[in-house]
């Protein structure tokens, strides 16, 4: 908790620099007194002019007041944006999202104030001329680009029509004025004589040309869009070829204008062809920026209907553009594109989530209105026919509005789903290319179009051959029996590019690019240090609430106090136990041996009988485990020298399990310092995507590993659990499905480490599980971090981690990778991690190992108080 408190203290300086100090206004926004000191017209003999002057002054003052209000709202919005960026950098997505939503609201409010402000100007100024020059002079604020300049100018020009909303005004203006301004700016930027601005504007005013440019913008901006001037030239030429003659004509006009380009200040003129392409591109971008920047200024961008859809479509298109790119590129370039896309998709997701919140509110409000009207109608006296019928009409309208609101919500939810799918796809592709970059270097050339990303894991598409080839077998239809290696299809490089040369019939080995280096890298050491710190800084139980204490005193045999914990005694025996709170549950730990502990579920009645039962069980588990330890310490290992694939199956959409998975990233590197660890592309399986099937995803990956000669898998499961399954949002995998997959690969040794509550049901299932397919004694080993009836906890005060996993890493690291201490076997490290977890967070790990055609053995087997031989 110390961390949290410190964070609370450190976080703000709210009234600091960014927030404008003590609440008094900042210098830049100080209001000046009205322009009373100016020399004013006193000539009453010409009242028309006098009043015209007064009106102008009044307009300026009103305008200034409104601008001041708008500016303050915008300043606050800017502050929120900065804080949002800061929050996002610190990983607090929720806060970032809230701040951004607030910033949008503030801007909308500012736009609304400012739109009202301009409604009055028509009565004073010629609407055609506006008052741009004087305003520009009066407001010489940041003018960084020509686009900003023109936007500022348009901002004033645009809102001349009273009674029109920003969208309406925008639409009206963009037809004409934007075109004009773009034309002027374009000529200015390209040293084209200003009299040609009209020709440029004419191009923009043409609806067909607008459509063409809009599409062209998207194409040029696409991730896989043309990059070099030659590519741009070619791309534009292809697009122009199929244009309607009218647009062709407009473009010819534009080309003619560009021909009038004068030499720049440096006197050098670029080659004409290149200039044309570049100029067109810049022209289009300018056009687009105008639209976008100004729409944003007016607060239209985030509220337009269908925005969510557009975002979803553009994200999807951008992703497809990258993964279907038929060109050899350095993997680092593909990584960058995908990383940028991921960032963009995250932004889009945040924006659409904001829209959904708004849409939900609208939908709920509409529903409430319907209910209210129905209630009113129901309360009417039957004789009030007229009123009833009036309400009937209202209800009909309200229901219609509700339906529209519901449909809008559905559309946005669908867009969000699509964005999340795209995000998942990007992550999948990114993981694939990250793996290649990590193992083969960033300059390795890849051709994205040759990889089938619709498969999990992504697979290299069969290369086109002259003779027809049989369809590749899908590995997941039936339980596969291992195919003789010689019969493998000739794409022995499936899943990677760089093993393509090895297609002989020799025994398979995983591609070299899958190897995980287990060197003494700083990053592994740093990760291990973090884990140690997490393992060593566990708070244990906290004191009971007042009510809980009262219940303990009333129901249990309280014999004293230990610190802030009550000490109680069971009905039988002389041992004493501290009782406290752990999370929402009750924890007990034996005085003098905190590794004998138990967690009593919150819904269990807090009676002496309950306590007796849990205390007794804890002692029995402990005795059994003490006996088991001998067997564990004998040298249980998860792998010998053979390649062991490290695989994760995670719920990345969940903050907690996703956080744990992310903060466990160093674990495979640590394992690689002890074992021959390999990681195949797609080995980090995120099973939380809507509609994902964890069972299928895992099976496919196992098949890929199997096909590449891997016979040992270490599977980390980061997911919430119930007594019957491990859950990934709406998706799940049951223990039976998991062992079902393992049974499909009878030569595969599998070690499972699951953080799931209740062991995800694995404990109960493994008690019954018999390995009828394989014949090795401990082919399947399952580590659950809790007993079947209890929940697991994650310490999140420093890192997202379970005490068991942190301690396991700490002990596995000892004596390896150049670290001090005696190297432990995996079994020893587990035993110690189990002890730490028992005293640190009162969870009790268990191990199950399979036996051929017999129920598996497990630690803390109360029916077998002998040594746990399963792991020896």
């Amino acid at each position: 908790m110390r961390f949290i408190k410190e964070r609370r203290l450190l976080h703000f300086g709210f009234g600091g620099l960014e927030m404008g100090g003590d609440g008094s206004e900042s210098a830049e926004t100080q209001d000046k007194t009205p322009e009373a000191k100016e020399k004013e017209n006193d000539n009453v003999e010409d009242p028309e002019q006098l009043i015209a002057d007064e009106l102008q002054k009044a307009e300026k003052e009103v305008d200034k007041s409104k601008k001041n209000v708008g500016k303050r709202l915008r300043d606050q919005a800017d502050n929120f944006d900065k804080m949002a960026a800061d929050a996002r950098e610190k990983g607090d997505e929720q806060k970032a999202s809230n701040l951004e939503a607030d910033a949008a609201l503030l801007r909308k409010s500012a736009a609304s104030v400012e739109a009202a402000q301009n409604a009055g100007q028509k009565s004073l100024d010629d609407p055609k001329e506006g008052k741009t020059e004087s305003d520009k002079d009066a407001n010489p604020e940041k003018k960084t680009t020509t686009i900003d300049d023109a936007i500022d100018q348009l901002d004033d020009d645009a809102k001349l029509d009273p009674g029109k909303g920003p969208e309406e005004t925008f639409n009206e203006i963009h037809k004409d004025k934007i075109a004009k301004k773009v034309g002027e700016q374009f000529c200015k930027t390209h040293n084209i004589p200003p009299e040609n601005a009209k020709d440029v504007a004419d191009v923009l005013k043409n609806p067909d040309a607008q459509k063409f440019f809009t599409e062209l913008i998207d194409g040029l901006d696409a991730e896989d869009g043309p990059k070099t001037p030659e590519e741009v030239e070619k791309y534009i030429a292809e697009k122009i070829e199929n244009l309607p003659p009218a647009v062709q004509e407009q473009l010819d006009k534009l080309a003619a204008v560009l021909d009038k380009k004068e030499d720049g200040e440096d006197g050098k003129e670029k080659p004409k062809k290149q200039t044309f392409a570049e100029a067109i591109k810049e022209f289009i971008k300018m056009f687009k920026e105008f639209f976008k920047g100004w729409r944003k200024e007016l607060g239209i961008e985030s509220t337009t209907e269908g925005t969510g859809d557009e975002r979803a479509d553009s994200s999807k298109d951008a992703y497809e553009g990258v993964v279907n790119k038929n060109k050899e590129l350095p993997v680092s370039e593909v990584q960058k594109k995908l990383t940028d896309q991921k960032e963009q998709v995250n932004k889009n997701i945040t924006a659409v989530e904001g829209e959904i919140t708004g849409a939900k509110e609208s939908s709920e409000k509409a529903g409430e209105k319907v209910k209210e009207a129905e209630k009113q109608q129901a309360s009417l006296d039957p004789s009030e026919v007229e009123e009833w019928s009036k309400l009937e009409g209202q209800i009909k309208d309200l229901k219609k509005a509700q339906k529209t609101a519901d449909e809008n919500l559905k559309t946005k939810e669908k867009a969000l789903e699509s964005l999340q799918t795209t995000k998942g796809n990007i992550e999948k592709a990114l993981a694939y290319y990250n793996d290649i970059a990590t193992t083969s270097g960033g300059s390795t050339k890849v051709n994205p179009s040759l990889v089938d990303f619709s498969k999990t894991p992504p697979q290299v598409k069969p290369k086109p051959k002259s003779k027809p080839k049989p369809e590749p077998e899908t590995p997941n239809k039936k339980a596969p029996t291992l195919k003789p290696k010689a019969e493998e299809p000739d794409e022995s490089d499936e899943g990677t590019e760089d093993s393509s040369e090895g297609s002989d019939a020799s025994p398979k080995t995983p591609p070299a690019s899958w190897n995980v280096e287990g060197g003494e890298s700083n990053s592994v050491n740093s990760w291990v240090d973090d884990q140690e710190s997490s393992a060593d800084n566990v708070d244990g139980m906290s004191s009971l609430s007042r009510d809980q204490k009262a219940a303990v005193v009333s129901n249990l045999n309280v014999v004293g106090k230990s610190g802030d914990k009550l000490v109680i005694k069971p009905t039988e025996g002389n041992n004493m136990w501290r009782i406290g709170k752990f999370g929402s549950n009750i924890g007990i730990s034996m005085v003098g041996n905190s590794s004998i502990s138990a967690m009593i579920p919150m819904d269990a009645p807090l009676t002496q009988a309950t306590f007796d039962s849990y205390a007794k069980k804890a002692i029995e588990y402990h005795k059994s485990e003490v006996a088991d330890e001998a067997g564990m310490g004998d040298g249980f290992e998860v792998a010998g020298n053979e390649p062991m694939a490290y695989v994760t199956l995670s719920d990345m959409a969940d903050g907690l399990t996703g956080g744990i998975a992310k903060d466990s990233e160093g674990f495979p590197d640590l394992l690689a310092q002890r074992y021959n660890v390999v990681r195949a592309p797609g080995g980090d399986i995120n099973a939380s995507q809507p509609g994902a099937n964890p069972e299928q995803l895992l099976r496919t990956h196992f098949a890929q590993l199997n096909e590449n000669g891997v016979t040992n898998i270490y599977l980390s499961i980061y997911a919430h659990g119930s007594e019957g399954a491990m859950h990934f949002g709406n998706n799940k995998i049951t223990p039976a499905q998991l062992t079902g997959i393992i049974d499909e690969f009878p030569d595969m040794k599998v070690t499972v480490n699951s953080i799931s509550c209740y062991g995800g049901g694995l404990a109960e299932h493994m008690e019954q599980y018999q390995d009828t397919k394989g014949n090795a004694k401990d082919r399947v080993t399952v580590f659950t971090q809790t007993k079947g009836e209890t929940v697991n906890y994650a310490n999140t005060s420093t890192k997202y981690v379970t005490v068991y996993n942190a301690s396991l890493a700490k002990y596995l690291a000892q004596g390896t990778g150049g670290r001090p201490g005696n190297k432990m076997t995996y079994g020893e490290a587990h035993v110690r991690a189990d002890r730490d977890a028992k005293s640190g967070q009162l969870t009790d790990a268990e191990v199950y190992t399979s036996r051929p055609n017999a129920p598996s053995a497990h630690t803390a087997d109360l029916n077998d108080m002998g040594q746990f031989e399963g792991m020896a």
Partner: protein, 117 residues
């Protein structure tokens, strides 16, 4: 945990719709002749006045303009105060909002510290 609330924007200062409205409201109470829509018809209205009457009317206008300007300046000084108050209230609201978010987040963190996996 989600946070469904949004920042409470304090009441905006009561701003006139536009300068014309502002002028006409003020001037309407002082000298109806000088309201913007009426000023164009003054020549017609006073076509037959004598030079003395004209002088009296001009003096009335001078006084009216001075009174209007006094009221106008007072109004906008007061508006500047209102804007300052608005800024202060906005900052307070923003501070409250961020504190609220922070507290929600802290609560989440504290809950998550011992959250079921």
């Amino acid at each position: 945990m989600t946070n469904d609330t949004t920042i409470q924007i304090p009441a905006l200062p009561k701003l006139p719709v536009d300068g014309k409205e502002f002028f006409d409201v003020l001037m309407g109470e002082i000298e109806p002749d000088l309201v913007s829509d009426a000023v164009e018809s003054l020549k017609e209205k006073y076509a037959d006045e004598t030079s003395e009457e004209h002088e009296v009317r001009m003096e009335r206008y001078r006084n009216a303009i001075a009174t209007y300007r006094e009221k106008r300046d007072h109004y906008f000084e007061s508006m500047a105060d209102q804007v300052r108050q608005f800024e202060k209230a906005l900052k307070e609201s923003a501070e409250g909002r961020v504190t609220e978010m922070e507290q929600t987040r802290l609560q989440e963190l504290e809950d998550m510290f011992s959250t079921d996996a």
